[in-house]
Subunit: 632 residues, 2 copies
């Protein structure tokens, strides 16, 4: 019997793999979630894994794998978990790429981690202070400053008001030992008597239009202690940015309400993460916030009205530092809030953080970053400079404004497979429960397979003559039945309608056109692009092949794609633990060329051409042309 | 008939002076208040005036004047108003020195004005901003910063949070005209649309232990628009600093209460002065506060506990800048509060402001400054450097803890004369109403005349064998009756008791001893002192000759004395309109040597010797010895 040991990279679990057992089954035994819509029959191509070591211990790739994986991918060690079985003794190191991971991994608000040496804005020092004497009366402040200089080489410092209030007692308690917290190396903000060894904390906040994520970080160690997220409560005032801006414009009260609702949620996430980490919110001395420009304005209480009017100029582009008290945050009262610089009215601090986290600004060869959301930001580097733009991609990709759309919650269909022979679907729901609807990645998957199986034509029209009861018409609108009511939790058929298809078409056309315009500006061809970073929740959960099949981004080998998850949050954390990262972010915001698409003729042309599936000019998508000819 | 024209300097009133009319009568006709306790009989020596021009138009000095005025004074043009009559045609320019002025002048919270070129911390600029264009999208902040640079040559600036909130609308209203308020040349704190031509205001606050005075200032013009004062509400928690510190120590709540009560009064004075000047409190962008170190700590909410414990070290000596909002002041929300640097635990920012206002730090010959209050600060310059100390002079000089003592309010006896032949007194009350009690300057006057007329001996004992019903004993304690109950408003005899005399003796001994110690340290003799500045309310209203007769300060010619009134308030105003003055204040606080008297043997010795009236060593007071021998 074969005695191969299977190790899942990054998850730190291992199992002995018996011969003929495939990796998908082994993963299930170990409760490692790998997506497999077709149930492990090698049909859906979703259970992608990367074999990092010990590929020779597995059996050879089979035909089913060759259909789903490109030559490049095969060369890099990609396999389908359901097709890879142990053949020889040895250790096999396997990685589950984000696109195949389900459940636990998918729900994390992680994002990539770029290595940053901690060099935080706030620091804590232990100081031993000599008390003043009658023959040498110094003020307590002078005694402290002298000690800081002698013991830590810290020069000119000022003492904040709160610290001043703490000083007289602190200096005389606990044998003259003090813990002094400094902000920006030259401002004493807080003083505690004695040797307070609790960690110095910071909070990184990603203000998404739909979701707010917070990361509690030990800034000295650069370690994330807890994370939490919550829906953006502004949703009640409008799903998208434009409707919130309209609401804010109606009345000054409304602006306060929009700001207040977000501040309240950030405070809640602060409390939640602190509780989880077993620390006090008053240990949080620094807060970094990223968000799109409208969220940035609303968070700071700046009227966003003019963001929605040509020429869409923001009130401010550079970083903004405010007192946490001034905007109502309940961290340490002396904490500062660093709001990321923004690039333009519709390319915000989240895009700057994306660039920082992916290090796109340091790319030496052409690289592309797409942060997909209700608004999609696209940033392109030609290896020397950056250009950015944004487009409205609408809520469809987040499962909204879709007939049976829902957020990526339990019961949402998130992975779909359609057999191109009998046109029968297979699907996986979040949490494995009977379906309640379809989330964004599910809709995209559905459309990709509908295209590959010929259910929709290149114009996006549902073909009604294929002789399957799955395709039908409701109130004159064609639709494809994904789940019969008997299978669902909601007791009605779950369908993808012609209107849903159109919404996705519009979204993907906008994203592709934005990307194409930037590529034109910087004279970059698809084949030049060495790296495509897909950011944002949707960008992480989407099946990259489905997106490519639909022509959402340029035709580049899948192995050049990196899913960076919530890289905006990662960038925020980097700025929290490193002053240098802040300086870089400010440089990025200044140096990135903003391309305004509102009045751009090239964008309109590209958009029109990108409405077809995958594209009017099929020669721009050779890989997809090949797949479609292979499968369809 | 003589046709002399009498002009009162600084009051801008003139009158034709008929021959034989004396200047005191003419002043009364013109409603100019000149002190004259004896009713114009040349006995009290209070109606001192200085003839600046046209002395030759007056009759010669008479014997009565020679008794009250020194040779020096006569040489400088001093006369008694009741003795100076017109003799020839011409114009006579007369000045009423502060010590002779009554009523209106006395009640002002003015203080001297040293000429300062306005160079305020806050400035307002009119800016015309070009709106961003679609082909050149700048943020509003960038548009403003560019305009400020082009139109006013103002370089690197930051924009405060409030200004940021105002910017987007302001930039688009009123034809892109903005009024921008800057703090410290590099921080935009406030933005208003249009050409806002209202003055930019500041508030100077003098936090006295007993009284709080506020001055509303047009900082650009350097002009005081309104002044107001109010008793220090902390009096309810203790008359003197030490009892307030004890109260603060008892409970954290008490500290808050002490701070809150002062803040409330400053807010009220802010409102009052703004109402008087017809302006809004939100036009006040800068606040400067001076006070003794305990008041400074309590104002900022710093526990003053350790000020009252050896080695009496303050929490901080350097200037403190806080947000007005942070301590609850209701000026413009972005206003900063500059708290003067202090010299030591008992020599505070008020002394620094005194020095600044009197320019003592620039004195080229030995000069002395005494700021008399419950606590008295003494600062000596030897012409090159400054030394300062402070002593507890108690509340007696402010009319407290005196049998019939009262504050300097209507009905208080403030000037006294005792005929050295019949020992009958004459007095003047504030407001001219029947007496209700005696204020500090009255008590001092009384004691001086009691000494000169032999009612008290050099040990301060009331002599009971002089055969006048005015001297009697009540409950075994000797006293002198100043006003019989029939003359008073309170229906009881108003007396000066043996205990009152002792309180004054202790106070004057402390002040003299403190002065003597500084003079020893800097090796300065009384005759070296070219200028003695008497500051503080008491210092202004006191009769300098009475104080000298009692030996309160070194024996120097009266014409070297300058009454500078509330010079602490003047110094605060200087710092409000001039950044340079702030820098000077900070330099003064750093450079002034503090002399701690608590453990000083020389002080104890000097104090013991100064308890006698005028002093144990009469040779140190040649002028007084002469007066006493002349009159007593």
């Amino acid at each position: 019997m074969t005695r191969a040991t299977l190790v899942f990279n990054g998850i730190d679990k291992k199992i002995d793999l018996e011969s003929q057992t495939n990796i998908l089954d082994a993963a299930r035994q170990m409760e490692i979630g790998i997506s497999a819509v077709c149930g492990g029959r090698g049909l859906c191509g979703k259970c992608r894994i990367v074999v990092r070591k010990g590929a020779e211990c597995l059996g050879p790739t089979i035909g089913l794998e060759r259909l789903s994986l490109s030559e490049d991918e095969l060369g890099e060690g990609y396999r389908l978990a359901c097709c890879a079985t142990a053949a020889r003794d040895g250790t096999i190191l396997v990685e589950v790429p984000p696109e195949s991971a389900i459940e636990q991994q998918r729900l994390q608000v992680a994002g990539i981690e770029t290595i940053v040496s901690p060099d935080p804005m706030v620091e804590k020092h232990l100081v031993v202070v000599s008390l003043p004497q009658l023959d040498d009366v110094k003020s307590d402040a002078e005694s402290l400053i002298t000690a800081l200089s002698n013991q830590h080489g810290i020069g000119k410092v000022s003492i904040g008001h709160d610290a001043l209030l703490q000083l007289p007692h602190a200096i005389r308690d606990q044998k003259n030992y003090l813990m002094v917290t400094l902000y920006g190396e030259d401002k004493i903000v807080w003083i505690e008597p004695g040797e307070d060894l609790t960690p110095l904390l910071g909070l990184a906040v990603d203000l998404g239009t739909t979701k707010i994520a917070a990361y509690l970080v030990d800034v000295k160690e650069g370690r994330t202690l807890a994370t939490a997220s919550s829906p953006n409560p502004q949703i009640q005032f409008g799903d998208d940015i434009i409707s919130r801006i309209s609401y804010a414009r109606e009345d000054k009260k409304n602006l306060k309400q929009l700001q207040g609702s977000v501040i309240a949620v950030v405070n809640k996430l602060l409390q939640d993460t602190c509780r989880e980490a077993g620390v006090e919110a008053r240990q949080v001395f620094d807060i970094v916030v990223v968000g799109n420009t409208a969220m940035h304005h609303l968070f700071l209480g700046i009227n966003p009205e003019f963001l929605a009017m040509s020429p869409f100029s923001p009130a401010v582009r550079s970083e903004v530092v405010t007192g946490s008290k001034d905007i109502g945050l309940t961290a340490n009262p002396t904490a500062f809030v660093y709001s990321f610089p923004v690039i333009a009215g519709f390319v915000g601090g989240d895009a700057v953080a994306d660039i920082l986290a992916t290090q796109l600004h340091k790319a030496e060869s052409p690289s592309l970053m797409i942060d997909i959301g209700t608004n999609t930001e696209v940033v392109l580097s030609d290896g020397t400079k950056l250009a950015a733009c944004s487009c409205a991609s609408g809520p469809a990709l987040e499962g909204a404004c879709i007939e049976h759309g829902m957020r990526a919650e339990t019961g949402a269909i998130e992975r779909i497979y359609i057999d191109h022979e009998n046109l029968e679907p297979g699907y996986v729901t979040i949490g494995g429960t009977p379906p309640r609807g379809i989330c964004g990645s599910g809709v995209l998957d559905a459309l990709a397979f509908m295209l590959k199986s010929g259910i929709v034509d290149k114009r996006g029209r549902i073909v009604r003559t294929l002789g399957t009861p799955r395709i039908r018409s409701a109130n004159g609108i064609p639709e494809y039945v994904l789940a019969w009511k008997e299978e669902t939790e909601i007791g009605v058929d779950i369908t993808v309608t012609q209107k849903d298809v159109q919404a996705i078409q519009l979204a993907k056309a906008a994203i592709f056109a934005a990307t194409a315009v930037l590529m034109r500006k910087l004279k970059i061809k698809p084949s030049d692009i060495r790296r495509l970073f897909l950011a944002g929740a949707f960008g992480t959960y989407v099946d990259p092949q489905s997106a490519l099949v639909l022509g959402m981004y340029p035709d580049i080998p899948l192995n050049r794609i990196r899913f960076v998850g919530n890289s905006a949050g990662s960038g925020a954390r980097m700025a929290l633990i490193s002053k240098k990262a802040r300086t870089e972010a400010e440089q990025i915001a200044r140096d990135t060329d903003y391309v305004e698409l509102a009045a751009d003729r090239a964008f309109r042309e590209e958009f029109a051409k990108a409405l077809l599936l995958p594209h009017t000019e099929l020669e721009r998508f050779p890989t997809i042309a090949q797949i479609l000819s292979r499968k369809g």
